[in-house]
Subunit: 190 residues, 2 copies
């Protein structure tokens, strides 16, 4: 059987608090969405499956007068499965797919003007993303320079955000370095 990452990311989210399918969809647009995501169409199907398998249970919460919000919470089985999965040690790392880097491998025959556009476009996207992550970070952790006082609930959030920020900073710095290099290579041909 496959790895069912979506299953475990839903169980993980539900371990923090009860949620509806809609809530889970929203969560994937926030911090955790930096490392895993799914569309609502996939989420509703997976929730039904997890319910069938007794990893979660369901109850109804009224939102307004007629709108029934389906809330989900972990069962004992679900809690155990999650715990077990988190503690499992990986024996290899999967390919971290990156379409921009993939394209670079095929740069041959591309005019330098176009290469500059590609890099500048990517820089813009990455800087925007970094800016948003930093905004999230300072909203949550402010100026607080001592993350050692975070409780275990906040720690996960802190680690994930610093990871995402560090990843983007590194991406941007590599983009800048590579663009410089390409420009220098062009100059050396004149």
């Amino acid at each position: 059987m496959a790895r069912r990452i979506l299953k475990f990311s839903i169980l993980g989210l539900l371990s923090k608090q009860d949620m509806s399918g809609y809530d889970i969809t929203i969560e994937f647009t926030k911090a955790i969405g930096q490392f895993w995501s799914a569309k609502h169409s996939q989420i509703y199907v997976e929730l039904k499956k997890l319910l069938d398998e007794d990893s979660i249970s369901q109850y109804i919460e009224m939102a307004g007068v007629k709108l029934e919000k389906k809330m989900y919470c972990l069962t004992t089985k679900g809690k155990e499965e999650l715990q077990k999965w988190v503690l499992e040690l990986d024996d290899s790392v999967e390919t971290e797919k990156d379409i921009f880097a993939l394209k670079l491998y095929f740069l041959k025959d591309i005019p330098k003007q176009e290469i500059h556009s590609l890099f500048n476009n990517q820089l813009q996207l990455r800087e925007k993303k970094l800016f948003n992550l930093q905004k999230q970070f300072s909203f949550l952790f402010g100026n607080q320079q001592n993350p050692i006082y975070l409780d275990s609930e906040e720690l996960g959030h802190y680690l994930v955000l610093t990871k995402a920020i560090s990843r983007e900073e590194n991406y941007i710095s590599w983009l800048n370095g590579s663009l410089d290099l390409i420009k220098k290579a062009e100059d050396s041909l004149t």
Copy 2:
């Protein structure tokens, strides 16, 4: 229609030189496999599709006496499609999935002993990967400190490898920093 990244990564590889399905499978275990990969079962199916669509053409090369190796090369259509795809500017970056980071978000209730194991295991995997990338890099580019003299064929390879190395270095440094932080947080509780 979907984005067909596998299609374009195959076209990209074939733009460098004619290859068989087997050759393409092997390529995905090398540099380019850091950013995209696929199993042979998927590759053979995709090649048949690309042949149908006239993006590639096929010829036979005898390997030994009876073994017919099916070689593929780009058609004019395939070359144009590739060129167009490489030059397209993205308007957003997709989620860069990372299961280890995902797990960290769900750390609550995990004993510190186990957290150390998770980090140390990941450090080991990442360091091994970095070592292999550095080996590849020095094999290809040696001590040569002046990448500005690379021709456009080598440039793509250089960029992809430095990207992968930089990504791993950043990952490792974030792992070390976070592990330190967690240890300090534990000490502060005594």
